[in-house]
C-alpha cells in the first residue's frame, strides 16, 4: 500500500497540493482523474520521488520514501513521467534494456535480455526493436517507454498519462495489459488518466482530484457518479452503464 499523509506542495508562490492524505491499495489498478491543473501529475511525481517532498510523507509498503535509497526504490516501483522529445539516439531494444539497469547495473545477464524481449513483444514492438527512437512515431515511442517501465519488473508501476499519443486500439490494449499485470501478475498500478471512460472501464480504484485536493475516492461506481463528475469538471455530466461498468457521457 502507498500511504500519503499530510502532503502539500508549492511551486513558487502557487500552492499545487493542499494537505493530501490517502491510501492507494496494493494489488489494484488505481486511476487518478480530475480536470487540468488539479495536481494529479504533481502527486504522481511526488510519490515517484521525481520531485523532492516539501512537507508530509509518503510510504511505500511501509518504507518511508525519503529514507529509502533511490536505487532500492527503483527495484520496487517504476515511474513513467510525461515524455518530452529526447535528444538521445537509441535503438528501441537499448532503450527498453535500460529498464533492466537497476537490476544489473551495467552487466546484463541472460535473464535481463529475456525480460527485454518479453516486454518488446508485449507492446508489439518486436519489428521495431532495432529502429532508433527518433525514427518512429510518437505512439510507438510511447509504447517503447511503457515497455521499458514494465521491463523494470517492479511491484508498483506509476504512470503519468500513459495513453498520450496512443490511438484507440493501442490505448485499449494498454489498459487491458495493465489490468492483466494487476490481476495475473499481482502488480499494483497507479496511473493518471485524462479520459474518464478508460478509468470507468478498467480501474479498480478511482481517486478524483480538483484544485490540489482529493474530492472523492473509492470504487468506480462510488466515484464516477453524475453528481461527483459534474462537480469535478464544473459541467453537467451524465453517467450510464455498459457491461456492468459506468459509462460517462460527457461528450453530448
Amino acid at each position: 500500500m502507498i500511504r500519503i499523509s499530510g502532503l502539500s506542495h508549492r511551486i513558487g508562490k502557487s500552492a499545487i497540493l493542499h494537505d493530501i492524505s490517502a491510501d492507494l491499495p496494493k494489488g489494484k489498478l488505481t486511476a487518478l482523474i480530475g480536470p487540468n491543473g488539479a495536481g494529479k501529475s504533481t502527486l504522481l511525481r511526488l510519490i515517484g520521488r521525481l520531485e523532492p517532498l516539501q512537507s508530509g510523507s509518503v510510504t511505500l509498503d511501509g518504507a518511508d520514501l525519503s529514507r529509502t535509497p533511490t536505487d532500492q526504490l527503483a527495484l520496487r516501483m517504476a515511474v513513467l513521467g510525461q515524455q518530452t522529445a529526447i535528444a538521445s539516439r537509441l535503438r528501441l531494444r537499448e532503450l527498453v534494456g535500460f529498464g533492466r539497469w537497476p537490476h544489473h547495473k551495467g552487466r546484463p545477464r541472460p535473464r535481463d535480455l529475456e525480460v527485454v524481449n518479453q516486454a518488446l513483444a508485449a507492446f508489439s514492438l518486436d519489428d521495431l526493436a532495432d529502429r532508433f527512437i527518433d525514427e518512429i512515431s510518437g505512439g510507438q515511442a510511447q509504447r517503447a517507454y511503457l515497455a521499458m517501465t514494465v521491463a523494470q519488473e517492479t511491484d508498483w508501476l506509476l504512470l503519468d498519462e500513459p495513453l498520450n499519443n496512443l490511438d484507440m486500439a493501442h490505448a485499449r490494449s494498454l489498459m487491458a495489459r495493465l489490468g492483466e499485470l494487476v490481476r495475473v501478475g499481482g502488480k499494483s498500478v497507479v496511473t493518471v488518466i485524462h479520459e474518464v471512460n478508460y478509468a470507468a472501464a478498467w480501474a479498480d480504484h478511482v481517486v478524483a482530484m480538483k484544485q490540489g485536493r482529493i474530492v472523492a475516492q473509492g470504487s468506480p461506481y462510488e466515484v464516477l457518479t453524475s453528481e461527483t463528475l459534474s462537480m469535478l469538471y464544473d459541467t453537467p455530466v451524465g453517467v450510464g452503464s455498459h457491461r456492468g461498468r459506468p459509462l460517462v457521457l460527457h461528450h453530448v
Binding site: 511525481r45 526504490l73 535503438r91 525514427e135 517501465t149
Partner: protein, 317 residues
Amino acid sequence: MRLLPAAMLVLAGLSVASLTIGAASVSILEATRDPWAALVLMESRLPRTLAVILTGAALAVAGVVLQALVRNRFVGPETTGTAESATLGLLAVTILFPASPLWVKMVAASLAAMLGTALFVAVIRRLPMREVMLVPIAGLVLSGVIGAIATFIGWQTDLLQYVNGWLMSGEFSGVLAGRYELLWVAAVAAGLAWFAADRFAILGLGDSVATGLGLSPGAVMRLGLAVVAVVTAMVITTVGLIPFVGLVVPNIVARIMGDNLRASIPVVAVFGAVLLLTCDLIGRLIRFPYEIPVGTILGVVGAVIFLWLLYRRPAHG
C-alpha cells in the same frame, strides 16, 4: 560491429605516417641502428603522435559526455565556457600563488573548468525547453564573456602570452617527451567516462527517467562535469584550445550507431583521434617544413562539418 576495427586500422596507418613525417629528415626504419634517428623518434615523433591521439580521443569523449548531460547535440567542451574557465583558474593560481607546484595548478584549472561548465548548465536550464539552437548560442556567448575576462586579466598582469597560449588555436609542434604527459590524465578521465557510460546514457533520457531507474541525476551530473573539466583543463594547458573535435565527432558517431554510450564511446574516442591526427598531418604537410596549427585547420574543417550537421536532413524516417 566492424566500425571499430576499421577505424583503428585507419588510426594505425595515420600514426605510422605521423612517425615518419617531420622537419628532421630521418628514417624511422633506421632507428634501431642510428642513435640520432632513435632520439628523434623517442623524444619528438612518438610523444607528438601519442599527444595527438590522447587529445583527440579524450576531447571527443568529453564531448559525448557533455552532450548527454545537457541533452543537446550542438555543444562541445570548447563552446560552453569550459576552456575559458580553466584558463581563468590557471590565471588565478598563477597570480595568487606563483610558486605552487604543477598539480596544484592543474587542480585549480579543473575546478574552475567545472564551475564554469556548471554555470553554463545553470544558464541553459533557464532557456525555453524546445529551443535546441539557443543552447550552443548561449554557450558561445558565455565562452566569449569569460574569455574576455581572462584576456583582460592576463593583459593587466602581463600574462597575456600565457592566456593566448591556452586559448588561441592549439598546436602540437612544441610537444616533446616530458611535456605532454598530463594528457594521460585526460585519457584516464575519458576512460572513467566509459566506465560510467550507462549512467550518462540514462541521464541523457531525462532526469525523470534517471530518477525512476534509481540514479541520482545530481551525482551523475557532477561526475560528468568532472570528466569534461579535467579533460579540457589538461588539454588547454598542454597544447591549447582544440576546437570542434568534442562537438562534431560525437554527432557523426551518433548518426551512424546511436547513443548507446557503452558501445559508442570507444568508437567516439578512435574517431576523435583519427580526426585530430588527420588535421595535424594536414597542418604539417601543407606548408612543409613550416607548420600550421592544428587548431586553425580544425577551425576550418570543423566549421564546415558543423554547418553540414546543422543543415543536413534530419535522420527521421
